[in-house]
């Protein structure tokens, strides 16, 4: 089964149909998606800042990672859930959209970089190395790229 056939099948499922026919469902799911991304973005910013020796530096980086990483995981799960519902509701909008695949590739990179930063934070280095600062900056750039790619999905519908 090719992607277009899969997309048509998904669109015809009862779950997809019920989201499509409920007027507030897609905006509501999108708002949940945005709230989670805002929270995840701010948590990622603070983890990155902390690893770079800035931000909430009064708290040990280990303790900050212990608090923030589980919260980020919950946000990511909710983002994957709401994102999946949006794909199920309008598969033709995403499944054949190259911007969506760029977004998902960037997401993989962001997760790897964030986990690496969390690992550095747990080891509590005395001073941030140049590599730590560079990865922290790169990590935030990739999260930013994900938001841009996400917004551009709407402009690249094929």
């Amino acid at each position: 089964m090719n992607l277009i056939a899969f997309s048509h099948w998904l669109e015809s499922t009862p779950l997809s149909q019920s989201i499509q026919t409920t007027s507030w469902a897609i905006p509501g799911i999108q708002v949940m998606h945005i709230l989670c991304l805002a929270t995840l973005f701010a948590l990622a910013l603070n983890l990155s800042l902390r690893v770079a020796g800035r931000g909430l530096a009064l708290e040990s980086s280990r303790s900050l990672a212990q608090r923030f990483v589980p919260a980020m995981a919950i946000c990511l799960l909710l983002l994957l859930l709401s994102g999946s519902l949006l794909i199920i509701a309008e598969p033709s909008r995403t499944i054949t959209n190259q911007m969506f695949y760029i977004k998902m590739s960037l997401l993989l990179v962001a997760v790897v970089l964030t986990l690496w930063l969390a690992n550095v934070a747990r080891r509590e280095p005395d001073k941030p190395s140049r590599l730590h600062v560079a990865v922290a900056v790169l990590c935030m750039l990739v999260w930013t790229g994900i938001i841009v790619a996400g917004r551009y999905i709407a402009y690249y519908i094929t």
Binding site: P27, V31, L35, F41, A42, L45, L58, E59, I147, V148
Partner: protein, 161 residues
């Protein structure tokens, strides 16, 4: 507001170039800065409610995070203004847009009241659990910002050209 002014506004070269070319990029920057604003505000508000970062003083958390909030808010206002200009008459007639502006104003008033009244006694509760008035202020702020985001997203679904 006069229709003549709104029509003039959306006819300016800047507004036309946003409408015809730059809208997706301006909107993306708006989403990034909005995420920064709301996300950092949620972290400060949940500390104010005594729910997160409880081992850090409230004033420290707000001092460290709010500069990011304000810079992002400035960029959000700028990009929001550009989007408004690109279709001024459409946004002006748009109910979710109007509700969003009212909620933004209320969020500002809530913050002002907190700064002028509640925050004056911060020394007494900075390291511990904030008083009920402060916690309420945090809750109201979170609610209002969720509303700003909700109605903001809604604008795009009902905007007319």
């Amino acid at each position: 507001m006069s229709t003549t002014f709104l029509e003039w506004l959306q006819g300016t070269p800047l507004a036309v170039s946003v409408a015809e070319e730059w809208f997706p990029l301006v909107e993306s920057v708006h989403v990034i800065t909005m995420a920064m604003v709301a996300g950092t505000i949620f972290l400060v508000d949940t500390r104010l409610m005594g729910l997160t970062s409880t081992r850090l003083p409230f004033s420290y958390v707000s001092e460290r995070l709010l500069p990011w909030t304000w810079v992002a808010f400035g960029c959000s206002v700028l990009t929001g203004t550009l989007m408004f200009m690109s279709n001024a008459t459409g946004y002006y007639d748009n109910t979710p847009f109007r509700v969003k502006m009212v909620l933004l104003l209320l969020a500002g008033l809530n913050m002002l009241y907190f700064q002028m009244v509640t925050f004056r006694s911060v020394a007494a509760w900075d390291a511990g659990r904030p008083p009920s008035r402060a916690r309420l202020s945090g809750l109201v702020s979170i609610g209002l910002w969720c509303g700003v985001i909700g109605f903001g997203r809604w604008i795009g679904f009902v905007i007319g050209k």
